[in-house]
């Protein structure tokens, strides 16, 4: 199963400051551990929200809101995608990450197609497949 591990923003990341060398080194080492253990599928750090934007949907109306965004602690500053056997394994890995200073990092399980179960009826599935096919054809 896959988990997305979401690292939240803080005032430093939002100010576009790079972490100091020690933290970068520790993080590189941690990432190497994850790769060596065959756990890490992907991982990226994100630029501050001042370089991003939001699109708001209201009926047919689309409004573009430019960053930065105020609610710093709710913003995402980076993520990993991990493949592990259980949520507990993801937790054990995350506990080894070199964070400090009250940082909170969130672990969320990624849906696999079998998770949709009975709710995702063959008809719905077919519809979704059609949509995906159209998207695929347009590319």
């Amino acid at each position: 199963m896959r988990f997305m591990v979401i690292v939240k923003a803080d005032k430093h990341s939002e100010a576009g400051q790079m972490p100091d060398r020690k933290i970068l080194e520790d993080m590189t080492k941690f990432n190497e551990e994850l790769v060596k253990a065959g756990v890490m599928l992907a991982g990226e750090g994100l630029q501050p929200s001042s370089k991003g934007a939001r699109v708001r949907f209201d009926g047919a109306k689309r409004t573009v809101i430019d960053g930065p965004f105020a609610e710093t602690k709710e913003l995402v500053a980076g993520f990993w995608l991990w493949q592990v056997k259980s949520k507990e394994e993801a937790i054990e890995w995350l506990k080894r990450a070199p964070f400090g200073g009250g940082t909170e990092v969130e672990i969320r399980q990624v849906f696999e197609s079998e998770d949709f179960g009975a709710e995702f009826t063959p008809e719905l599935r077919e519809k979704e497949e059609n949509i995906r096919r159209q998207i695929g054809a347009k590319r």
Binding site: K36, A37, G38, S86, E92, R125, E129, G136
Partner: protein, 437 residues
Amino acid sequence: MAVVMGPPPQSRGSMTVPEANRAIDAVWRIESARLIAGLTRVVGDVGLAEDLAHDALVVALERWPESGVPENPGAWLMAAAKRRAIDLLRKRKRDERKHEELGAEMDVRQESAAADLDTAIDDPVGDDLLGLVFIACHPVLSTEARVALTLRLLGGLTTEEIARAFLVPEATVAQRIVRAKRTLAEARVPFEIPRGADLAARLSSVLEVIYLVFNEGYSATAGDDWLRPALCEDALRLGRILAGLMPGEPEIHGLVALMEIQASRSRARVGPSGEPVLLFDQNRATWDQLLIRRGLKALERAEWLSREAGGALGPYTLQASIAACHARARTPEETDWERIVALYDALGQLLPSPIVELNRAVAVGMAFGPEAGLEIVDMLVSEPALESYHLLPSVRGDLLIKLGRVEEARKEFLRAASLTRNKRERKLLMDRAAALG
């Protein structure tokens, strides 16, 4: 029993026993391979090393529900295992002293063993882990034993999990593992990383085991389900770990590339009611682009390493290249069949096999027309190795349809259905036959 104590319970809030057990399972999965590897180097026997590691686990199961999981669980388990190992070495020494008046030599050995234990958990290069990989996949063992031992020692799977994955009774797997350990001990298999000419042969045994695990998950040879994704994930993880341990070996990256690209299609290979969906009918929009990207990157590395070494592409890299041709094609029509034929030509020269030849026939049929493909298939019909291989009549049926020979095609699909052991696949083949009247 001497163990390192965790922090006092009040400092971490108590865990329920099931919570603690799940956490311990997770720690075990992360730490067990390195733990067993380090212990094997020191005690020289993989069976004993696993027993010691398990003893440490038992202590953890007793303590952690109360104390919480310690800050550094790997070091904690190693420390607990180390105490057990030292107790054991002392006991052995006492026993030996009883038999013969043996002194200084044993002391020296024990001292150095204790020092080794201190560094055993520090294995930054991963040499211990690699040593364990080569032991678990040692050619002195049967393929089944290699698979079971690899999943158990390196994948951190329990005997029960392995049994469930391979649809065999737990007792069978347990027995395989016990026998494998005995065989290794009797053959005095050393804990080492093979070098030189030996390395190629030993490595190919390791890759074979990993790919076998993957394939059992990817196209289950028996049972009700067409896919067992957990096994694919285990194999991929082992492959990725191995690629990290031996980054200079092209064929490891080739195998990883092959597995990543094949796994990228898992979602598309199963229809709404669990039936298999063939490559050309798959909705390519549901292929996992992340895995494809990872696969193509691993393939690039494999090709680059092969070129650097001045050698030809190995069999896994060739198969990954074929898989990549499909992965790069956004529609079946975009597939570069001529390149696939060339890759199968190369693979057939490297590993002449009727199965490779059958696959080449499919590619030839696509690149140069069904008649050319059928010509190759017809030469394979008398091949004893393919006598009961369901894909032979299935491929033949496909080619016959394209040539308008419907009745012959129908018979081939029926024959294929009678040969497969997988329920889902049988139904698919029966349906195809029925559709032809």
